[in-house]
Assembly symmetry: C2
Homo-oligomer: 170 residues x 2
């Protein structure tokens, strides 16, 4: 009811940032065990948020777009896809991206339920991994895909030569 043009509401939102390296905590420290981290070098950070009503159907299309959009700068100054660079990928679940301003607070009413979101997120990671592994250029270059744990705090350190932040909605 409230809000403008719910017909145009996105089903998912992705935020892309280029990095020279990025390090993400995937398990917080606990008594007796240290935190666990994953790391990538030169590549692409993809923050992901799903909205209510999203189904598995959308995920292959998202993966195709995210891996093929030409946003990564070669040494020659040309822009190519992350598969063509080739570069590594760090996928981070980021539910806050679905927030909507209401007064001085953000509300997350449009966000997908947590369990459904985890299913879609896991599928997205799996399909991205599959594409990366099937790509000869990527395998030869030894680029990797790492990803955050859904529901965790995404403790993150990033080093960039310019994040060139882009948003893509689906």
């Amino acid at each position: 009811m409230a809000g403008s043009g719910s017909a145009a509401s996105p089903l998912a939102r992705a935020l892309l940032q280029q990095c020279l390296s990025a390090r993400l905590q995937v398990k917080p420290p606990e008594p007796g065990s240290e935190a666990r981290w994953v790391q990538i070098e030169r590549g692409l950070i993809i923050y992901i948020c799903f909205f209510k009503g999203t189904t598995e159907e959308i995920v292959p299309k998202m993966v195709n777009t995210l891996l093929n959009v030409k946003l990564s700068e070669t040494e020659g100054g040309k822009y190519v896809s992350i598969l063509d660079l080739p570069g590594s990928i760090l996928i981070i679940p980021q539910a806050t991206l679905g927030g909507k301003l209401k007064g001085r607070n953000m509300q997350y009413h449009a966000n997908i339920e947590k369990e459904r979101g985890n299913v879609l997120y896991s599928l997205l990671v799996t399909l991205c991994e599959r594409e990366l592994m099937a790509n000869a250029k990527c395998s030869e270059a030894g680029v990797v895909l790492k990803h955050g744990t859904y529901g965790n705090r995404q403790v993150l350190k990033v080093d960039t030569n310019g994040p060139f932040t882009h948003m893509i909605e689906f």
Copy 2:
């Protein structure tokens, strides 16, 4: 003509990320002179992009929202504004945020012209600085506002305890 619901097109887009520290290059290295950097500690990174048709009128409203939205976590786990935290602010011009996917490329047709964008960006920085200086809590705590140079490559290093990425459109 093309596109969905141009009536709902935003005039500006801001992306907010929390940081423990952030370091931004404001002057690239040149023969005979080193690069110049600015740095903040705990606080808020605000990426800014203006669209065509935006005027000065919108800027005070943006500043009010960005400085007062409750997205910064206190040590007690409560969410307060960056002014109430209080924390430092790093403002980064990020025209890429205005990109729109077309096939495998991003297009920036909706972005404001560079000179107009620089005027609005400078005004935004000035008004944010003014608010920060007028705020007793911020002055006492010695928090600072730093910002990137419009039109530069935004070489950035970030350390977070969770970016909690939010997008706000105006």
